[in-house]
Amino acid sequence: MPMTAAEAVAAVMLVALVVYALFGGADYGAGMWDLLARGPRAAAQRELIAQAIGPVWEANYVWLIIVIVLLFTGFPAAFAAVMTTLHVPLSLMLIGVVLRGSAFTFRSYDNSEVGRRRWNRVFSISSVVTPILLGAVIGAIATGEPGRAAAAGGPVPLLATWLGPFPLAVGLFALNTFAFVAAVYLTLEAPDPALSEDFRARALAAAVTLGGLAWVVYHLSRTEAPLVSHGLAASP
């Protein structure tokens, strides 16, 4: 099947976004498991998470940057619509990214126990909030609202395009996907069987809730994002 240049660029963006979700997403998921570290091995879980994401997590932003640069150069009209009508969630997401990264770094240089715990809190909370915002942005784009609002002209809506049930459901779906991927990776990274078992149980639980959320998102998409819903229903 011959591809137009636009489709080729869009395909590269899709691949980059999927790779970001698989690699960068796992870093967010690991941050969520840090927040939810429980049980007798909570400290060991946190240490494994810090070791697992330490060497790679900065590099993963390359994928997100590719998506944004291609959107800007390949589809400037869509870029303008997305960046203006979704200004609020994108800004909050950026702040989340910055806080997460700095807290992760500050944590390893802070000598006081209180300080380390505080940075850990900042790191794990921003790890949970940021993917929800990322998912909400993608959900909002799927509804077509940003494009319609930009085409209509007039004052730019700040909240209406993304503060709806469908975008927020996609946000939770994104967080859950990242948490599942991270738990699977951490199961393999864990140095001892007990720790590995902790994350195996978490991966299974995340898989179950992911299935439930997928069902919710699919049903919401019928009315909120018919284009996506038709595509999903028609796929073999």
């Binding site: 960046m83 203006t84 200004h87 800004s91 702040i95 910055v98 806080l99 700095s102 500050f106 240089y109 802070d110 000598n111 004052p155 730019v156 700040l158």
Partner: protein, 194 residues
Amino acid sequence: MEGQFRTQRGAPLRIGGLPDTKAGVTHYALEIPKGLSILAYNRPDAEVLGLEAFPASDRPPVPVVHVAFQVMVGCGMAMAAVALWGAVVAWRTRKLPDSKAFLLALTIVSQLGMVAIVAGWTVTEVGRQPCIVKGVMRTAEAVTPVPGLWISLVAYSTLYLLLGVVTATLLGSLFRASPRPGEIVADAAGGGAH
């Protein structure tokens, strides 16, 4: 960038100086004859288009760009000079230079890299005005219609200010926690007692 207002053959390269936009001349600059023509076209008598070739509405704020460019190049030259100084001393004495004057110079120029980055960034960002995409789109056409942008500005500024303060505090505490020169010597003499 070079403060060249008139179109001329054998244009000089200006070091320093302050462009006067109204009069169309750059004052107080050290001029290297034909330098700019050689730099731009590899020929001493090449013609260099001056700013006068462009309508005033298409020109960037010349003094800002010129001064920022001089600052960037100056920083680079200063860093290169100190590096050369260190290399000469190291080559002549066969050990790392540790004179007080050299260490003081090193402390000062180590800040200049950041200054050069910011100055260079100013050159590109101010230098491409009034366009945001050269020849395609003007900055005025690219202004976002999003309302309440001052909130974003205040939020980002506060965030980075806080992060800066935290970084300085943490670096300070690391610095205080590091051993003094005397302690390192004492440790080595102890022969790894602990």
